[in-house]
C-alpha cells in the first residue's frame, strides 16, 4: 500500500466524477476542497510554528517555555488564537482608516498566494505555473506593500520608521534571494517547480553543482531570513527602540493577521529553500545505489518535504535567538556590498559550471 497522497487525490477525483454527472459541479467541489485544504494547512502550520518557536526559544534560553495548557503546553497556542480573535479592535482616531485595514489584508493575501504556489508532496501542489519560481518571487513581495501601508497609515512615528526600515530591508534582500534562485533556474533549465522536482530525482541540486549551489543556498538563507524581519535583522520591529515597529497600532485580529503571515512566511521561505536546493519532496538518492534508494523511497514524500522545511526553520530560529541586532548601515552594507556582488558573481559561476560539466 502506498502512503502517498496523490493516490488519495486521484481516488477523490474519480469518485466525484463517477458520482456526479455535471462536470461544472465536480470542478466546483474540487475547487472548494483545494481551497479548504490549503486554508487548513496554512492555519495549522502557523499554529505549529508559533508553539515550535516558543519552545525552541525557551530551550535556547534555558527555560521551559509554555508548559501549563495541555501536555507540554501544546494547547497554549490554541488558547492564544482564541484570545486574539475575541480581543477588541481598538478604533483609532488619527489614522487613515482605509489604508489601515488594507495593510494586514494585503500582507495575508501576499503570503497566502505564495503558499498556494508551493509543492507539498508528490502530485500535491497548489498553483503549478510554468513560471513557478518567478511567480513565488513575485507574489512574495506583495506583502511589503501591506507593511508600508500599515506603517504609513498608523500616523505613528515608530510605525513609520519601522515600515521604512522594513521596506528598505525587504527590497534589498529580495535582490539576493532573486539572484540565487536564478542560479537554480540556470542549473535546472526551467522555472516550473514540477520540472525542477523531476530534475532532482537522482540528485538534489545542491549535490549536482556543489560549489555554486552552496553559495546560492547560503545567500538565499540569509536573504530569506532577512525578508521575514527576524533575528539579527529585526530592526523593523526592534522592541527596545520602536516598541513593535509597523504594527504598533494594531490590536486584536488585525494584529493577528500580521502574526499569522509572519509565521507562514517563515515556513514559505524554508519551503522554497527546500524545494529548489534540497529537492523538495524528493527522497535522498545516490545514483547507482539502488538498494539504498529503495530504502529512502519507503518514507512518503510529504515527510521528506516537511523534514527539510523543519531543518531550515530550525536554522532560522537558531540564528534568531543567537545573534544581536544589526544596525541599518551594517544591514545595507551586508546586502549591497557583500551579498549582491557575490550573487552576481555566482550567476556567472553557475553558468560556467553548466557549460563545463
Amino acid at each position: 500500500m502506498s502512503l502517498e497522497l496523490s493516490g488519495l487525490i486521484n481516488a477523490i477525483h474519480e469518485g466525484l466524477t463517477g458520482a456526479i454527472e455535471a462536470q461544472w459541479l465536480v470542478s466546483l467541489i474540487e475547487y472548494v476542497l483545494v481551497g479548504a485544504g490549503l486554508l487548513a494547512l496554512y492555519a495549522l502550520i502557523a499554529l505549529f510554528l508559533i508553539i515550535f518557536e516558543r519552545k525552541i526559544c525557551a530551550w535556547f534560553q534555558c527555560r521551559l517555555g509554555p508548559n501549563r495548557v495541555g501536555p507540554w503546553g501544546i494547547f497554549q497556542v490554541f488558547a492564544d488564537m482564541l484570545k486574539i480573535m475575541f480581543k477588541e479592535i481598538i478604533p483609532l482616531k488619527h489614522n487613515d482608516k482605509l489604508l489601515f485595514y488594507a495593510g494586514p489584508c494585503i500582507v495575508v493575501i501576499g503570503s497566502f498566494l505564495t503558499f498556494g504556489g508551493l509543492q507539498f508532496a508528490e502530485g500535491v501542489h497548489g498553483v503549478d505555473l510554468n513560471i513557478g519560481v518567478f511567480y513565488l518571487l513575485a507574489v512574495s513581495s506583495i506583502s511589503i506593500v501591506g507593511v508600508m501601508l500599515a506603517g504609513w497609515s498608523s500616523n505613528n512615528k515608530y510605525a513609520l520608521i519601522g515600515a521604512m526600515r522594513s521596506g528598505a530591508q525587504v527590497i534589498s534582500f529580495e535582490l539576493s534571494a532573486c539572484l540565487s534562485m536564478m542560479a537554480v533556474v540556470i542549473l535546472g533549465g526551467s522555472m516550473n517547480l514540477s520540472t525542477l522536482m523531476e530534475k532532482q530525482e537522482d540528485l538534489w541540486f545542491i549535490f549536482q553543482a556543489p560549489v555554486p549551489m552552496l553559495i546560492a543556498m547560503v545567500i538565499y538563507l540569509i536573504a530569506a531570513h532577512a525578508e521575514t524581519n527576524r533575528g539579527p535583522f529585526d530592526l523593523p520591529e526592534a522592541e527596545s527602540e520602536l516598541t513593535a515597529g509597523y504594527h504598533v497600532e494594531y490590536s486584536g485580529m488585525t494584529f493577528g493577521y500580521f502574526y499569522v503571515a509572519e509565521y507562514c512566511n517563515l515556513f514559505i521561505n524554508a519551503a522554497i529553500g527546500a524545494l529548489v536546493f534540497l529537492g523538495g519532496w524528493q527522497a535522498f538518492h545516490i545514483p547507482g545505489c539502488d538498494g539504498f534508494n529503495a530504502v529512502m523511497d519507503m518514507c512518503p514524500s510529504y515527510v521528506w518535504f516537511f523534514l527539510k522545511c523543519l531543518f531550515f526553520i530550525f536554522m532560522s530560529l537558531w540564528v534568531r535567538w543567537s545573534f544581536p541586532r544589526l544596525r541599518i548601515d551594517q544591514l545595507l552594507h551586508l546586502e549591497w556590498k557583500i551579498m549582491l556582488p557575490f550573487s552576481l558573481f555566482n550567476i556567472l559561476l553557475v553558468a560556467v559550471w553548466v557549460i563545463i560539466f
Binding site: 483545494v34 493575501i109 498553483v127 513609520l160 527590497i171 533549465g189 485580529m253 553558468a351
Partner: protein, 117 residues
C-alpha cells in the same frame, strides 16, 4: 484543472480567511469608546504633530537601486531558462550585460549612495 483556475481559487481562499477572521472579531470582540485609547501609542506622553511628513532620503536611494537590479533580474530570468541551450555565446552576451550593471553598482558605491548617513 488549469493552474490559473487554482490561482483564482487560492486568491478567493485568502479572502475567505480574511473575512472569516474579521467576522468573528466583529461579532464577539468587545467595543468600547475611549478618547485616551484612540490616541497613537508612542511613548506615553501626548504625540506632537503628525507623522505624515518628509522622511530620510536614504530609503529613496535604496529603492531606486533596487529598481535597477530588479528590472535586470526580470531581463535575466528568460536567459537563465535557456542558458544550457545557448552555451558559451549566451554567457558571453550576458556577461557584458552584467559588467554594465556591476559598473552601475560600482558608480553608486563610489558616489556614496550605499553609505548610510
Amino acid at each position: 484543472m488549469s493552474p490559473y483556475e487554482i490561482l483564482v481559487v487560492v486568491f478567493l481562499t485568502a479572502f475567505v480567511l480574511l473575512i472569516g477572521g474579521s467576522v468573528i472579531a466583529l461579532l464577539w470582540a468587545p467595543k468600547t469608546k475611549n478618547a485616551q485609547k484612540a490616541e497613537q501609542y508612542e511613548s506615553g506622553i501626548p504625540t506632537r504633530g503628525t507623522s505624515w511628513m518628509q522622511f530620510n532620503v536614504g530609503y529613496y536611494l535604496i529603492a531606486i537601486l533596487f529598481l535597477m537590479f530588479d528590472v535586470e533580474a526580470v531581463l535575466l530570468f528568460p536567459w537563465a531558462v535557456v542558458m544550457k541551450g545557448l552555451g558559451a555565446n549566451g554567457l558571453l552576451a550576458v556577461a557584458f550585460f552584467l559588467v554594465v550593471l556591476i559598473l552601475g553598482l560600482a558608480y553608486a558605491w563610489r558616489k556614496g549612495a550605499l553609505e548610510w548617513k
